[in-house]
């Protein structure tokens, strides 16, 4: 059995931007990213517990996805850039392999 999805997603991004500005978006989520290949102190394999992907939507449209694999380290940290044309509602979804998910949201205002 895998542990509960308790990670707290963290975001770092600007609250405002100029129209057409490219902004840096940093994301971090607490998650062990267990591959199922590692043995614990008791000698038994630690059950697989892996996030599958991060999906980022801007005003409803997917603008960024990342696929995670066995080599992705614990607590995945992703930084990417996004061109902002108008006030944007961002929705972040980390999807577990078993279908559960974690979400976070943010808004970047274009004055």
């Amino acid at each position: 059995m895998t542990a509960a999805l308790t990670g707290r997603p963290r975001l770092r991004l600007p609250a405002t931007a100029q129209a057409g500005e490219v902004v840096e978006i940093r994301t971090l989520v607490d998650h062990p990213m267990e591959t199922g290949l590692r043995k614990g102190d008791d000698g038994q394999p630690v059950p697989r517990d892996m996030l599958a992907r991060l999906i980022v939507r801007a005003n409803g449209a997917v603008v960024f996805t990342a696929e995670f694999r066995n080599a992705t380290s614990a607590n995945p940290y992703l930084v990417f850039f996004l061109r902002i044309e108008r006030t944007t509602e961002l929705a972040f979804t980390w999807l577990h392999e078993d279908g559960r998910s974690l979400t976070a949201a943010a808004r970047i205002v274009v004055a």
């Binding site: 963290r10 975001l11 971090l28 607590n75």
Partner: protein, 429 residues
């Protein structure tokens, strides 16, 4: 036909003729070795040069009249040593014939082979041992400048001991129930286990005197030196007292606010602190940067066989300012490598081969509580790729419950004290 005795006489006179010019030369002018910096590297170099090469004139340029060590500064914070116990006079080196110039070395001219002094005047060298230590990268952490260091001390560059004394006073003034926060930088930095020994000994002080206080250790890294041993000790000695936050869980402090007394991390978490110790990002000391000896990392690349700077002839760089590869930036490494750097410098100066196949040795002891010491040992050799650790050498203290290892921990604390006494004796005479 020559008799055996005649042959001996002939050989002797030939040797005498050959030796004569060298004797005249030595009398005319002793080679001049100048050392910049009187820390573990510089003091050890001067002491060793006087002992092993008595024909060489040795001058140390160092602004302070005595040296306050970084090692054992954490015991001052914990309350088991005072400033006098970690302060070492240069008088014994002076009595051994080392000349001291108590001034700042302001600039090096590697072509003219001269050093400009802060108080005016220049010093000429034949070979320079540069052991200037580190500089704090002020401003690299937003809000952290020399003024902020009076609120959030770094206590990582000793000077006259002002910073470590300030941090100790802040700990004494801390209300029971307060938060002591540490900001710990990314590698490389001076003394890799140092922050964790400091956390341990501050925890020891808090447990005894302010049992409701907490420690918040915010780290740029996800792993650190002797991590398992430190964390075992924290769990056994100080359960619930220390929270260590790795970089991958938003542990990277990116801004400090001295007015609000806040450490702010990468993802915007604002941690309110009562006492804050910022161990700041570092580079080689300014003089090494100004002399053009550093590369893009901010540290000095050196030839791992001779310690000669890659970017300048006749300047051998030792101690925390150089790029030590697999070796740690430690006083122990500064001490052992100083001797090899001096031997290489004098050999090259006199047209001899530097010593072959050197071995560099390091032990870092850490105190984590009363009668509780741990250590890591490393053996290193130079290679074409720089300094590399010798496979299957060295190691760390065993892990396990304190109940089973009490003697080991007590002995290692004792070894640590003995190490401190002997290395300071070796370096400062």
């Amino acid at each position: 036909m020559l008799s055996r005795r005649d042959l001996g006489r002939l050989v002797l006179s030939a040797a005498a003729i050959l030796a004569a010019p060298a004797v005249v030369h030595a009398k005319a002018k002793a080679p001049r070795l100048v050392v910049i910096g009187g820390g573990f590297g510089g003091a050890s170099a001067a002491r060793y040069a006087r002992t092993a090469f008595p024909h060489v004139a040795v001058t140390v340029i160092e602004p302070q009249k005595s040296f306050v060590t970084c090692p054992y500064g954490n015991l001052l914070l914990g309350g088991s040593r005072d400033l006098a116990a970690i302060t070492h006079s240069y008088d014994r080196l002076k009595r051994r014939g080392v000349d001291f110039i108590h001034d700042w070395a302001d600039a090096i001219d590697p072509v003219a082979k001269t050093i400009k002094l802060g108080g005016g005047g220049t010093v000429r060298y034949d070979k320079l041992i540069l052991s200037p230590g580190i500089a704090i990268k002020w401003g690299a952490l937003a809000g952290y400048d020399t003024g902020a260091a009076r609120i959030f001390p770094h206590a990582w560059v000793p000077e006259k001991g002002e910073q470590v004394t300030l941090l100790r006073k802040q700990l004494e003034a801390l209300p029971d129930g307060g938060v002591v926060a540490f900001s710990i930088p990314a590698n490389p930095f001076r003394c890799p286990p140092g922050p964790y020994e400091r956390i341990s000994l501050v925890a020891d002080y808090l447990k005894k005197h302010k049992p409701r206080a907490k420690i918040l250790a915010l780290d740029h890294k996800d792993a650190f030196s002797k991590q398992g041993l430190f964390q075992d000790a924290w769990n056994e000695l100080y359960p619930g007292l220390i929270e260590w936050v790795p970089g991958s869980k938003d542990g990277k402090v990116v801004r400090v606010d001295t007015k609000e007394k806040v450490f702010e991390t990468e993802f915007g978490t604002r941690h309110k602190v009562d006492v804050g110790n910022v161990i700041p990002p570092q580079s080689a000391a300014r003089i090494a940067v100004d002399a053009g000896l550093v590369n893009e990392t901010g540290w000095v690349p050196v030839n791992p066989y001779t310690f000669e700077a890659v970017k300048a002839k006749d300047i051998h760089v030792i101690g925390d300012a150089n790029i030590p590869g697999a070796m740690p930036k430690s006083g122990f490494i500064a001490n052992t490598t100083s001797k090899h750097a001096v031997a290489s410098a004098i050999a090259l100066l006199e047209g001899r081969e530097p010593p072959k196949d050197p071995i560099y040795f390091n032990t870092c002891y850490s105190h984590v509580g009363d009668d509780y010491g741990i250590s890591i040992v490393g053996v290193f050799r130079p290679s074409e790729k720089g300094f590399v650790e010798t496979p299957n050498s060295g190691g760390v203290s065993p892990r396990g419950p304190l109940a089973q290892l009490r003697d080991q921990r007590r002995l290692e604390a004792h070894y640590a004290d003995s190490w401190y006494a002997s290395i300071t004796k070796d370096a400062f005479g």
